[in-house]
């Protein structure tokens, strides 16, 4: 359970980060969506943590840990958010070189430094500030479409000033963030002034994220290690008590107690009863399931098998109880025509004949009949009629055609005299 808990925490963390990373990509195109999803991540992770919390309700000592996890998650989330802020800074840096933006940047960096100064104690303040930032950004968004077009060319020129701001920001952040992060930020800052900043910035951000995740992961693992150690203590104490009573005590609804006892007593009864047949077995045969059974089923029944089946049928009571059962018996013995169960009853001979044999009969006119003229015309009509007749078998249809063939051959002279038999 504890392992499961830690894993879920890890997974959710990773997941949220991945999602986050993905949105950093898209951040360039759509600020709003990023912000929204960035907000969306929080409920997700807190939710999962809450789930874990719920699962561990039964063990009281666990609750402390759970809250620990919760606060920890909050911290990490905050860290993420600060990252987000930074990212937005960069985006805005890239896209706008306006004074307004610079103002905004300075404001945000101020927020960051504020956050850094207050430290972890004033996390809530930071959160509030960020919310302010988000709203300000929303306001900004309206300006963006116009500005971005205007500033497309200006962006290149103002990179140097932008870089200055960025370093300021980085240094400001360096106070707030982990040493790893600081290193990453400085590295990113050092590469920024390059001309190929459009692509490289992406890479930087990616790299930064990666470092971030690693760092956070490490932190998580450490924290979880502590957490697990704590839990082990809790577990030991928990196991010393009888668990069912414990569980019942912490069951939310009062019904659980009665029901639980009912089930356990039932179980005890079953166990007591099962004692008559101990679970021991001979252990002679291994449990391999090979295909030998199928082979023997495929083999032809020997005289012994037939005789055995006969013996069994004689032993059991096979007398019919009513007229229908008697008819079933007769059908099985082959004394009775089988009762129709579909529309193809009595068509067993035709079952293998495909339908086109029935329908396309023109090929049978190819030899023995004239290619044109009244005889041909007549025969085509005959074939059409046959094609629509469902009551004759293919053999019968062929016979029918060949009868006409013979007939017209016999009458060939007469027809020739009348000049109607061509060919």
């Amino acid at each position: 359970m504890y392992r499961f808990l830690s894993r879920t925490v890890c997974v959710t963390r990773n997941h949220s980060l991945c999602v986050y990373e993905g949105h950093v990509f898209s951040a360039k195109y759509d600020n709003v969506s990023r912000v929204l999803t960035g907000v969306g991540v929080n409920p997700l992770s807190t939710c999962s943590v809450r789930c874990c919390e719920k699962k561990d309700n039964a063990i009281p000592s666990n609750q402390d840990e759970a809250t620990n996890v919760d606060t920890q998650a909050k911290i990490t989330q905050l860290q993420e958010e600060t990252e987000q802020v930074k990212a937005t800074d960069r985006d805005s840096m890239q896209q706008h070189s306006n004074v307004k933006v610079e103002q905004f940047l300075s404001k945000s960096s101020q927020v960051n430094t504020d956050g850094a100064k207050s430290g972890k104690e004033s996390l809530l303040d930071l959160l509030g500030a960020m919310k302010v930032q988000v709203t300000s950004k929303k306001r900004l968004k309206n300006l963006k479409p116009k500005q971005s077009l205007e500033s497309a060319s200006a962006a290149m020129e103002s990179t140097s000033s932008m870089f200055q701001k960025a370093t300021v920001q980085a240094s400001a952040q360096s106070e707030a963030l982990d040493p790893d992060l600081v290193a990453a930020a400085s590295a990113a800052a050092s590469t920024l002034p390059n001309r190929s900043e459009a692509e490289s910035e992406l890479l930087k951000q990616l790299r930064q994220r990666k470092l971030l995740t690693e760092a956070q992961k490490k932190g998580d693992v450490n924290n979880l290690g502590v957490l697990l150690a704590d839990m082990k203590v809790g577990k030991r104490s928990g196991r010393q008590n009888a668990w069912p009573t414990n569980q019942i005590r912490f069951d939310d609804d009062g019904q659980g107690y009665v029901r639980d006892r009912g089930i356990t007593s039932e179980l005890a009864n079953v166990q007591k009863r099962r004692n008559i047949f101990p679970a021991k077995r001979l252990n002679i045969f291994s449990q391999t399931t090979d295909e030998q059974g199928d082979e023997s089923a495929l083999a032809k029944p020997t005289l012994w098998d037939i005789e055995f089946a006969n013996e069994l049928s004689l032993l059991t009571n096979q007398k019919p109880r009513n007229g229908f059962e008697e008819m079933i018996q007769w059908t099985k013995e082959g004394k009775l025509w089988q009762y129709p169960i579909n529309n193809e009853i009595g068509l067993e001979d035709e079952a293998s004949v495909p339908f086109h044999e029935h329908v396309f009969l023109e090929k049978h006119l190819e030899d023995g009949f004239p290619r044109q003229g009244p005889v041909r015309h007549f025969m085509e009509l005959v074939v059409t009629g046959l094609a629509k007749n469902p009551y004759l078998t293919v053999e019968q249809k062929k016979e029918h055609i060949s009868w006409f063939r013979d007939y017209f051959h016999q009458k060939e002279e007469v027809l020739n005299e009348a000049d109607v038999y061509l060919n």
Binding site: P278, L315, K335
Partner: protein, 629 residues
């Protein structure tokens, strides 16, 4: 990755339909979606009896009707178990005679009325057609199960130097071993014995003919240039079937020496033969375990019959059985072999074997077994399957456990399980036990409900069963039903069972009842009297005579009672004094002094010690004239 892709694709499908961008992705998307959406239902295949089965399931059993097989013929309406047996036998033998006549005179039955043709209705060829010496002729003789003719043909083939294929040799050996080198009684030939109990008779047959030294099977087997496991299998099975157990084991050793591996049938046969080759329980179990281990070594998968024969052999290992039979059951479950009813029957017998102290623990076993089987429908897989229900009901009856009895019966009513009740004998055993259990434990109203349901459509109770019913009536004081029960006794043919009738009469005569009941009792008593009168051989006992007289007296049938007294005289029986005194009371009530005097005279004739007292009473209570005095 796939999920975002799908989303993208879906998006494009929705919005980008007009743009026609990424048409490939669209196709991929729609394909994957359609794959999920359409579930092709499985084709339902009906067998040819499906319609009839559906119709048959609508028909309920009618407890007031005769069994269906007799409904055609008003002459065949069985009222007793003996008649039932006789009529079903005559029906069967009539069919067999007709079949024999058709098959032996095929020339007379050439007309084929059925269109389309029904091959079954045409005479079968039972005579040999191929006369020349060939493998085909041998095959024909084998398929017609003509043992001696087949052996003869085989010998002729060998003499002429024709090689016989291995397959045909296998068939020939199977045939000879199955019938122990004897021509089987051909089906359809006229027989003097009955055919409805083929199992018992066949078993007798097989017991009669024992495996002989160097019979044709062994001779042919020894002549074979090469022998495979199938040949050994045929011989070993034949030997075990016909009682040559030690020989079978020798042959098995021979097979092992030839480095062949045996098949599952050989092991099944050998295991079932174990109790006959070993005398001590330990040795028996050791041999079984050894055989099972050898099976495993030779990679032979055991089947249901293997374990059933192990359990059957274990039944004769008394105390070891209780240890090992649960283990065997667990082994079966571990191997995924579903136990049949025979398996459970063996286990039940093992646990209840000679256990006079059948405590609650033993009933728990039955309860366990029934819980496991509850609601399952069985098919017959083992010849011993048909013994289960009768055995289980016997245990219920012995332990007087009504609840379990009902459970057993509800299991019988599941699906086609009623077929596993076995032949009419087994069925009578089962229902008889069930009915006795009901009479012992159940309230009389419920008993009568069951009585009307199973008697006589399923059960013809024996005299003991009827006695139990009478006792049940007595316990719950519903003696007023006795006359109807008497009618049933008469129709069941038990009216000649003296002790049963006496029990009935004594129950009727024991207490006084209301006038109506007495009236019906008297009518019943007269009926009994007339039945006895028809059978001059039957001896009247004193008690039954006096019971009838008392019943008649109570119903104020003085004249009839007087006749009974005459009967005492005729049969040289002596009426009791109490009877005569009550007679006298009746005389006084009807005010017939003449009769009272005659009574005294009669009493004097019997030289009863109560005569003077009777005379005194007569003098005191009646106004007699001189002559009478």
């Amino acid at each position: 990755m796939a999920a975002p892709c799908r989303h993208v694709g879906h998006h494009i499908q929705k919005n980008g339909r007009f743009l026609r961008i990424n048409i490939n992705q669209l196709f991929a998307c729609s394909f994957s979606e359609s794959k999920e959406a359409i579930v092709i239902p499985r084709k339902k295949s009906w067998n040819k009896e499906a319609v009839l089965e559906a119709l048959a399931s609508t028909v309920q059993r009618d407890p007031t009707a005769y069994p269906y097989q007799f409904q055609d013929d008003s002459y065949l309406s069985p009222r007793t178990s003996i008649e039932f047996k006789l009529f079903s036998l005559s029906q069967e033998s009539g069919r067999a005679a007709a079949k024999y006549f058709v098959n032996s005179n095929p020339k007379l039955f050439t007309k084929d009325f059925a269109e389309p043709h029904i091959p079954y209705l045409m005479p079968e060829s039972v005579a040999l057609r191929l006369e020349e010496v060939s493998q085909e002729a041998l095959e024909e003789r084998i398929s017609l199960r003509k043992v001696s003719a087949a052996v003869e043909m085989y010998d002729q083939l060998l003499q002429s130097g024709t090689a016989v294929s291995m397959e045909t040799t296998h068939k020939l050996l199977d045939l000879i071993c199955l019938y122990c080198d004897r021509d089987p009684v051909q089906e359809g030939t006229p027989q003097t014995e009955d055919r409805r109990k083929p199992m018992g008779r066949q078993a007798m047959d097989f017991l009669k003919c024992t495996w002989k030294e160097n019979n044709n099977a062994e001779r042919i087997f020894n002549l074979l240039p090469e022998r495979d496991a199938r040949c050994y299998s045929a011989l070993i099975r034949g030997m075990v079937k016909h009682g040559a157990y030690a020989k079978a084991f020798n042959l098995y050793e021979d097979l092992l020496n030839n480095r062949l591996s045996a098949d599952v049938h050989i092991f099944n046969a050998l295991i079932s033969a174990v109790p006959d080759v070993r005398k001590k329980n330990n040795e028996r179990w050791d041999l079984i375990a050894e055989l099972l281990n050898q099976m495993n070594e030779q990679k032979v998968r055991p089947n249901l019959l293997t374990f059933n024969s192990v359990l059957k052999a274990l039944r004769q290992c008394s105390f070891l059985a209780k240890t090992f039979s649960p283990q065997i059951l667990n082994e079966m479950k571990a191997l995924g072999i579903a136990p049949s009813l025979a398996t459970y029957e063996h286990i039940l017998t093992v646990f209840f074997y000679k256990s006079a102290s059948s405590g609650p623990s033993n009933m728990a076993i039955l309860q366990d077994v029934l819980m496991e089987l509850e609601g399952t429908s069985f098919t017959c897989q083992d010849p011993n399957d048909v013994l289960f229900f009768a055995t289980a009901m016997k245990l219920c009856l012995d332990n007087k456990d009504l609840e379990l009895g009902y459970k057993v019966h509800s299991l019988v009513e599941v699906g086609e399980n009623w077929r596993l009740l076995g032949d009419s004998y087994q069925q009578a055993l089962y229902y008889g036990r069930f009915f006795n259990l009901l009479c012992l434990m159940e309230h009389i109203d419920v008993v009568l409900k069951w009585y009307s349901r199973i008697v006589p459509s399923l059960l013809y109770p024996n005299p003991q069963g009827m006695k139990n019913l009478l006792q049940a009536l007595d316990t719950d004081s519903r003696l007023d039903l006795l006359p109807t029960i008497w009618k049933d006794i008469k129709s069941l043919g038990h009216d000649n069972k003296v002790d049963l009738v006496e029990e009935l009469l004594s129950l009727m005569a024991r207490d006084e009842h209301s006038a109506e009941v007495q009236e019906s009792f008297a009518a019943c008593a007269l009926d009994v009297k007339s039945v006895f009168g028809e059978r001059p051989k039957k001896e009247w006992s004193t008690s039954s005579l006096s019971h009838i007289s008392i019943l008649l007296l109570r119903a104020n049938k003085l004249q009839k009672a007087w006749d009974m007294l005459q009967l005492f005289k005729d049969k040289n029986r002596v009426p009791s004094g109490a009877l005569l005194s009550s007679f006298l009371t009746a005389c006084r009530c009807s005010a017939s002094p003449q009769r009272a005097v005659e009574l005294v005279q009669l009493s004097a004739a019997f030289s009863l010690p109560t005569t003077p007292e009777l005379a005194k009473r007569t003098l005191a209570e009646f106004e007699l004239n001189d002559k009478q005095r």
